[in-house]
Symmetry: C3
Subunit: 155 residues, 3 copies
């Protein structure tokens, strides 16, 4: 039976992807005490990047927002696995880290990362309101425009 | 009545700014257990950047240090709010993350970040001695030269 | 008497370096509760960089992997100190952060960071399997090609 959060995701028309396989020798999440730490996720759709390139260099803000949202869907897919399938065990999205592959003169990193943050708040309400740091990086694995990582408290 | 840390800040001639408003859909801090996680802060003074641009590209090391210090003032303003106004509840500055917008050939990121680290140690003494990671990024929100985030343990 | 992990490191032919001195006003690690947070480490050998420069700009993937491994050796040296010399107290490598100084068109950050991740798994087995985020940065302190930080749970 779907939980409260799953129902909310359904109402929003959001289906979480199958948990992605790490690209290398690490795991997608670690649980330690009441914390779940999810590895940085790329904006993959069926194994391919939703967009590639840089903000301020070919990728639009709207495309960047869609990429950030897609990254968070993968983060949430791993969080669900860490919760044994029960997303209702989430107590708080503690922190999201947003890495935006960006030109040296790009300034709208915050707008791009809102693609992830807005989804967190839509899905989890008050528990989805998180701390975050957003930075512009030189490049990302596979040429992705965005990577998102997350820290969560669960019950 | 001012606490011990507030008095120390006063002796240092340091006034914390009013807590800044997040640029987007997130919150300035999250408390989880005994931890406070503060979102990445920019070097704002009355809502404007103290400096803008890049280290190794127009912004001097001294300006970068002043910017890092200003970022930490905002971090501490949020920490104070997270402590219900009582900074004496701080047990330890656990980790500071320093993001320096820097040219590809810049190497003095550590010196710049000391603008924040020196303030933490001056304000909190032994409890202010922290782990940190400092990196050079391609660009930051609003064109800021420095962004600083923090993890704290409070009682 | 050497512990289990120390013996395993010996079998792998791995000697941890002497704990490095921070470049600036911070400490190499902080213990908070059951967590140890280790500051970002550079790939130093006897105080000099093993390699310098950028991935996708003069530093090969193999050199980057060796640099990432060397960074982690320093991380583990500090972890050992945080454990009072007893690495067997490690319960879990929670998260590694990998910062790769990289050209704008570099895409193999994950391969580079495997130099650190493979060592963690070789040394600690199941407890060494970690979450991680790997990003390409514009520049690093001293011109290093890689910096690695770590979060650990200890008993």
């Amino acid at each position: 039976m779907a939980g409260r959060i799953e129902s909310r995701l359904g109402e929003l028309g959001i289906a979480l992807p199958a948990p992605s396989t790490p690209l290398a020798n690490y795991v997608p999440y670690v649980r330690t005490g009441n914390f779940v730490v999810v590895s940085g996720q790329l904006p993959l759709v069926d194994g391919e990047l939703l967009h590639s390139g840089k903000l301020g260099g070919g990728v639009s803000i709207e495309q960047g927002q869609a990429a950030a949202r897609q990254c968070l869907l993968h983060v949430l897919a791993h969080l669900r696995a860490a919760c044994g399938g029960e997303l209702d065990r989430l107590r708080r999205v503690v922190r999201l880290g947003g890495f935006i592959a960006a030109a040296a003169d790009f300034t709208e990193h915050g707008q791009v990362m809102d693609g992830a943050s807005d989804l967190a708040v839509a899905a989890f309400g008050e528990a989805g309101r998180h701390a975050r740091s957003t930075i512009g990086v030189a490049s990302l694995p596979r040429g992705a425009p965005v990577e998102v990582e997350g820290w969560f408290e669960i019950g």
